[in-house]
Amino acid sequence: MAKVMGERPKALLDVPLHYCPGCTHGIVHRLVAEVIDELGVEGRATGVASVGCSVFTYNYFGCDMVQAPHGRAPAVATGVKRARPDNVVFTYQGDGDLAAIGMGETVHAAARGENIVAIFINNAIYGMTGGQMAPTTLPGQVTQTTPYGRDPATAGNPIRVCELLSTVKGVALAQRVTVDCPKNVRAAKKAIKKAFEYQMAGKGYCIVEVVSTCPTNWGMSPADSIQWLRDNMLPYYPLGVYKDVGEEGEE
């Protein structure tokens, strides 16, 4: 009797992913699909694709998918969920989509306690457009639009989304995870599963922030990116649970 590890989950379509080598998007896609499989909800799930490197998620997930304008995924997800309350609705967004242009939609969906799950890929840079500053770019970090390193005096300060949303009533789960090693990948999957379960229990808005890499635009190998993430991103964006109504009890 054999145990097989690494098979593509059913909710992830059998298509080659277009992401760069070592991009952690691939890991997170697989985790979301595994959770959808384990919960058996692919038939009643609707995913909302955002704009960024992950714009093609509608080609990768097997559930029904709708494409949203840049930043608007939480609003589109709200429309879907209010029209189909029994559907499991999730967004998959990068740092520009969720925290720059979409910050208003994010905060208000959270405040409404909208029963959706936001998978938030935080890699401190704008990938698809070629490596510009993101709201989560670190002070001193060199990007295409901060060629001398991000100077908070002129370019502003990075935003810690989980911390920000943890103050919003309506948020059921705000948890920051990462996927730099198997142990953390397992923990990330647990968080994603909890988020989906909370939605199915009607607990409110859930966000799982995944501290991620962008080897291409960070200008380093995938292996080095993992180390850069540990050395630079995790100290600024500490992993942890920032809000969990399941643990704390309903407000």
Binding site: G6, P16, L17, G26, V185, S221, P222
Partner: protein
């Protein structure tokens, strides 16, 4: 013995599996170049594989599969 299979066409040679392997038995095979121009990963010493599946957990492309015979005493 655990069996490791790499999908040479899906592998992007990113080395996530290489750095994840606790036995350090994964490396890129520079003698193979796939249709996208990548060198896929391969096992250098199959005998040392402990079937932990760390490589499968870290692969972003579902390009590596590990099959492990379950111990009949425990899992029957």
């Amino acid at each position: 013995m655990p069996k490791v299979t790499v999908d040479n066409d899906r592998c992007k040679g990113c080395e996530m599996c290489v750095i994840a392997c606790p036995k350090e038995i994964l490396e890129l095979d520079h003698s193979i170049t796939n249709s996208k121009g990548y060198h896929p990963a391969h096992v250098t010493d199959a005998g040392k594989c402990i079937g932990c599946g760390s490589c499968t957990i870290m692969c972003p492309d579902c390009a590596i599969i590990v099959e492990v015979e379950r111990c009949p005493r425990r899992y029957s």
